[in-house]
């Protein structure tokens, strides 16, 4: 058995396929929803942990992609140059996962890597370009 986290990105016009239901029923994959932000008419994100034999996981990923849904395994890691950060907060605007937030007490940026789903939006949102991807 293998467990892996994935970010599913739904286009605004995604069909109403019951993706997680089908992954469980058709493929017998154990699903743990880590974070969900999907609503009709807008780009949606679903972060799930899938547990199944490696071959089944691959079939599950294929099925997701066939539904025109982007499926990215979370293998990469986001890092940033904390020493150069000016704590403006522009990156927090795009961090739907809540990994980047502003601390109210000292007005500093707080990065909680365990919440990061590697959507990569912060790479573009940072006006000083301090974020990068660590491929691992």
């Amino acid at each position: 058995m293998a467990s892996k986290r994935f970010v599913l990105t739904f286009p605004p016009d995604a069909t109403g396929q019951p993706i997680t239901y089908n992954l469980i029923k058709k493929f017998d994959i154990m699903i743990n929803i880590v974070k969900a932000d999907v609503s009709p008419g807008k780009i949606g994100h679903l972060v799930i942990e899938m547990t199944a034999p490696a071959r089944v996981l691959k079939e599950g990923m294929e099925y997701i992609k066939q539904q025109d849904i982007q499926c990215d395994p979370i293998e990469k890691k986001i890092t940033y140059r904390e020493d150069l950060c000016i704590h403006c907060g522009a990156c927090t605007a795009v961090c739907f996962a809540g990994a980047l937030t502003m601390r109210r007490d000292n007005a500093e940026l707080l990065f909680e890597p365990e919440k990061c789903v590697v959507c990569e939006l912060c790479l573009k949102a940072c006006p000083l370009k301090l974020f990068s991807i660590d491929i691992g």
Partner: protein, 383 residues
């Protein structure tokens, strides 16, 4: 009991090391428990600050003359065009000007590199005249080889600013940062109760000649800023709701610090520059004591839809909610994000507080106060 004090009296106290100087945040907290009369009796000066992206910024540079001399016409610095129509070896480098084809590198980056002491490639050409025969120059310059580097920013330190949201179904990239679709976030850009012009909303003490901290060094208010508008409606606390007054600032860029001048690139918008500004507000009377004790709950601004193209006002919120991380607009909860660094603004306000308390920075009486205006002209398409 005396209900007024003058700037001369405050400067006398500064000289004697007896002036009570607090930051605007400290006084905002005091204001929740004390009356303006009590604050007036306890505090002489309040320091305010902001560190946000301010596009309308740039530097005048005088490169020095070559032998034989040139009257520079087309000028680039690290491939970023500078305006050379002010002869002969003067130029104005705007912060938002970009290098071709790399539009993520621009004037702000060159300015930051020059302030940091780095070499920058100067290329200039001219037609050549009898008095300026040279037609081309290509050399390296840095802040020690040039004569002047004067930062002159026509529009800085906005008094309040809109909150930007996006109601469309597409992500939008703006000078207010990345705006997620379907009101996915709300971006704002002032330092709230720390912000200079929100602590003296009627500009009673800030005018032409006011001495400030600019990019970390001494600077001055040169004029009112462009798009200066004192005609905006004010709320019950006398705070203009939305963009209103602005300042034109001037200072010696050679003395500035890259901690307080930072180049920035906003995705699919372009280059801008974070500028650090700290302004002292003298507490001359109880009215000013009341103004400087304004807090984030009392400062409001409009939420504007930057996605739709017609900049519709969707609601009004206060800065306490904006800093809390969530606002409610039309019944919908929206995550908020700042673009202006309150942390650095706090640092600047504290530097200025120490400079004044320790007798190194004295306050100035404005040479002239700004005239009230009633609105702005729009650009009419007449052809």
């Amino acid at each position: 009991m005396v209900k007024k004090r003058s700037i001369d009296e405050i400067n006398e106290k500064i000289r004697g090391g007896k002036a009570v100087v607090l930051t605007a945040e400290q006084v905002a907290a005091m204001g929740k428990e004390m009356t303006p009369a009590e604050i007036f009796s306890r505090v002489d000066v309040v320091t305010t600050a902001t560190f946000g992206p301010m596009c309308s910024s740039g530097v005048f540079i005088n490169f020095g003359h070559t032998t034989p001399p040139i009257r520079m016409e087309r000028i680039t610095l690290n491939n970023v065009p500078a305006y050379g129509g002010i002869a002969a070896v003067d130029a104005y480098l705007g912060a938002t000007e970009t290098a071709m084809p790399n539009d993520q590198y621009g004037g702000a980056h060159v300015i930051e590199e020059l302030i940091s002491g780095k070499d920058v490639l100067l290329e200039a050409s001219a037609k050549g005249t009898d008095c300026y025969p040279r037609t081309e120059v290509k050399t390296l310059i840095n802040k020690d080889t040039i004569n002047e580097m004067i930062m002159f920013n026509p529009r800085n330190a906005y008094q309040n600013y809109n909150v930007a949201v996006n109601s469309t179904h597409k992500i939008k990239y703006s000078y207010m940062g990345t705006l997620l679709p379907s009101l996915g976030n709300a971006n704002f850009s002032t330092s709230g109760e720390l912000s200079p012009l929100l602590n003296d909303p009627e500009l009673r003490t800030i005018g032409i000649g006011t001495r400030i901290l600019f990019g970390g060094t001494t600077g001055y208010v040169a004029w009112h800023g462009t798009q200066f508008n004192t005609g905006k409606p004010v709320n019950e606390y006398g705070i203009p709701v939305g963009n209103s007054a602005t300042l034109a600032l001037i200072g010696d860029a050679k003395q500035m610090s890259t901690r307080f001048i930072k180049a920035a690139y906003f995705e699919r918008y372009g280059v801008s520059m974070f500028v650090g500004v700290a302004v002292p507000v003298p507490v001359l009377d109880e009215d000013l004591a009341r103004r400087v004790s304004v807090n984030n709950r009392q400062i409001e601004t409009n939420v504007i839809d930057y996605g739709s193209g017609n900049f519709e006002v969707l609601g009004r919120v206060d800065y306490d909610s904006l800093f809390s991380g969530r606002i409610t607009v039309n019944g919908k909860k929206i995550r908020t994000a700042p673009l202006s660094s309150v942390r650095t603004a706090r640092e600047l306000a504290d530097i200025l507080r120490l400079e004044i308390s320790e007798g190194r920075f004295f306050l100035t009486e404005p040479i002239a106060l700004f005239k009230k205006t009633s609105g702005l002209n729009s650009l009419e398409i007449r052809l």
